[in-house]
Structure formats: structure tokens, C-alpha cells
Amino acid sequence: MPPSVLIVDDSEFMRSLLREILADDYEIVAEGENGVEALELYREHEPDLVMMDIVMPIRDGIEAITDSDPDARVIMCTSVGQEEKMKMAVKAGANGYITKPFQKPSVLEAIEDVVPA
């Protein structure tokens, strides 16, 4: 069974892009639009990996990680390329960080480091 992935991003366009990138090698179990949905969907599906944006309405990605399962594997998938934000993500418990825009090889490489296929 391929590793299961939860995608969380408020952009419909970005969710479809990630879906396309991951479809061959991973099982997309659910998609959410904000940090609140991320927590609900995580508890429901218990994915092997969460690909999560930072800047989202209602609840951002870093806040969501802080409240999530400490064993959750999370890669931040975000346009924000600030060193301070990266440090905040590490502190919150993120396992990886990809900055947009990205290409398929760099996404797969980042995921392989966190959740080998």
C-alpha cells in the first residue's frame, strides 16, 4: 500500500496541483482548506503524511501543527520563504518545508526524506 497523504491548502488550484504530483506514488485520502479541517481530517483518516500550507483562513498551518498529534509527519508546503517562519515550523513540529512554486521532483524528494515510499 502506498503511503497515505492528507493535503491541506485553501487554494483549489494548489490542491489540484499536488494531487497531480502525488497521484502515481501516494494515496490522497482527503483534502482540507484550513487548519481546523486539517485536524478533523487527520483524526478521521490518520494519514502517513500531511502536506500543509501555512497561510490559510480560520487557522493557519503552523497553529494546526501545534495542536496535532506529536507523531504526525507534516511537510509545510508554502509560498513563505522566511527564515523565521521556517524556525517556527520546526518548533511547532514540522518535518519538512517546501517553498512554492515547486516542481514534481523536489516535492517527491522532500516527501521521500520524511516518509519513504
Binding site: 483549489e12 488550484f13 489540484s16 497561510v55 522566511q82 520546526v90 514540522a94 519538512g96 512554492k100
Partner: protein
Amino acid sequence: MRVDIDSLDLVRRLAHDGAEQAAESLSTMTGVETRVETTSVTLLSRASARERFATATAGVELEFEGQLSGRTTLVFDAEQARELVAEQAPDGSDAVIESGVEELGSIMLSGTVDGWADSLGTALDMAPPTSLDGEFPIPAGTEYVFVFDSKLQGVDGGFEFAIYVVPDWEPLTEVFDRESDPGAIPIEKLAVFNDMTREGAAHAADDITSMTGIETSVEISQCSFVPVEEVPTHVGTAEYVGVVLEYHGRPSGYLAILFGEPSARRIADALLPVETDGDWDGMDRSAIEELGNIMTSGFIDGWANVLGTSIDHSPPEFVHDMGSAIVSPVAARLGTRQEHAFVIDSTVRTDDGEVGCSLYALPNERELMAALDDLLVERASRTGADPESVF
């Protein structure tokens, strides 16, 4: 040279007074009521100044000296100017009309410099005006130039003129140093910020290229200082598709990323595998929102990394309207806290000019000045951050 908001405002008002004199001269000569739409003080690198004025080919210029010295140039659409003059001399030959255009320019520029002299309470000597011939003159010996930029328009909207004053650096330094408070920031820090912004715009251009395959580059990047109520006029009335968002941190403010509709359509088509209905209510809207989100980070991350801070931004709000209508609410919100705005505007364009994007960043002015005050110039190159060094 040290600058602060009050000294920038003083200099801007000087420029505005000069432009008002020029507008009055034009009104008197043509009988067409003319007003000054906007006056801004803009700091440009020499490279940006050359790009900005690359297409300025019709106009009149003159040199002036005294407490302030430099060059002022009136730029106009030659055909509009001829029409205005022809109305005053309906039986005039082409030669008479051309002479009238030169005289019109001369009178307006003399009025501009007279306005400066009156405001400074001094005398400024002027050399005879000459026609703008070839390249727009940029003073030698300085890495940066200040441009005082006024837009004049006939109240019936029939014509537009622009007056650019490029003062010599040393006398201008004396004015700023005299008028600024002891806590004013060195101009080098504003210049560093200008460079960071240009780099941010280049990053944003790379994001467009990376996501769409359409090669773009920064055409112009400049930091202007304008009264907050003039911000909508500064942006103009062209129709745009894009995003607006708010950023919070040091500094906080607003950012508008605007594409002309044909450009937005071309970009959306490049981003999406299938055509959309063109109503900007489906995946095409989401694509522009996400591109705007990514470009925002590309633009402001450099500020955060150099300033050693973090700057958050809201999810992008999709917009489709005239530029002035898009930024009016933003200007209104800024206007509750400040009288002026730093308008950081950058233009990103393809070589063929078919795809263009304008980025307008409007930071809180006091927070920006405070952040620049803390800026360590030696951090200026630290605009990028590498996740691998953090994780």
C-alpha cells in the same frame, strides 16, 4: 543625507507648488483649466531611472541653480500639445505651432522653478529651455536619483503632462539635512530598501516564469512618497485582475498584485490544463489567487529576512476592477493612521510587453521608517532563506 517623513513631505510640497505654478501657466495660456493630479517623490536607482524614462522623447527641459540645482523636464504627448497650441493659433503654420509647443513648455517649466523659488524664499537661476533631445538626462556621479514627479491633467481629461524634476544630489542633501529631525534615517537605508524591493520584484517575476513558463523580468521598481489620498490616482484607472492582501509584521501594510486582463488570461491559460469560461469564478480565479500568494511571499520574504523578522500575510483576496477602485479602500484604511504613503511599485513584464504585472506595496509609514532605522545595512544581501539550513 538623512530623511524622515516630515522632510520628505516638505520636499514633496515644494515639488507640488512648482507643478501648481506650471498648471496655472498652462491654464492661462490655453484657457483650459488644468490641475495637478498627483505629485510624488521617488527614489530610483540610475538603472531604474534610465528604464523609466526610456520612452520619454517629447518634451522641454531646463537647468536651474541656486539653493537647489538640477534639471526639470516637461514630458508630454507631442500631438496633444500641438492640438492645445493649435486652438490658440488656428491659422498658424506647422512652424508656428511647433514654436508654440516649445514656448508652452518653456513657460510651464519656468513656472515650476518659480514655484520652487517662492516656496524656498530664494532666487533660482534658470538656463534657457531646450527641447528634450534623445535620452532623458540623469545626473552623473550618483548611484541614486530623486525624481519629483507631477502629473497634470486638463479638467476635461483631454491631455496629460508630466513634470519631472531631478535635483542635484548635494544641494538636495542640504535641504533634507536641514529639514530632518536628528532621528532621521540615512538615505543609504532607504536605498537598501529600494534594492530589496527590486530584488523582491525579481523574485516575483521568477515565480511567474517558474509557474507558467512565460519569461518575465522586472522593468521598473521604485519607492514613491505621496499623500495617501493620491494613491488611487497614482495607480490609475486601467482595469486589472489580481489580488490584494494585508501583511502584518514589521512593517505591516497592504500589497496589490495586478495584471491587465489580457495578461491575467494568458497567465491563467498557462497555469491550467483546460480552458475556463473566462468569468473568473472557477479554477482560473484560484490560479491567479495562488500565483498572487506565491508572488507576495517572493516579494516580502526578502524584507523579513533582511530585517531579521517575520511578516505574515493574509490569504489573497481576488479583485477585478479599475486600479484606483481596487486601492481606494486600502488607501482609506491607511488614511486613518497616516497622511502619506510610501508606494513601492514594481512592474514586471515580458520582453514583448504582452504580459505585464504591477505590484503595489503600501507599508505603514512609521513602521517602515522604524524598521529601516533598525536595519543593519550589512544584512542587505540576506534576502533568501534556505530550508535545508533550518531543518
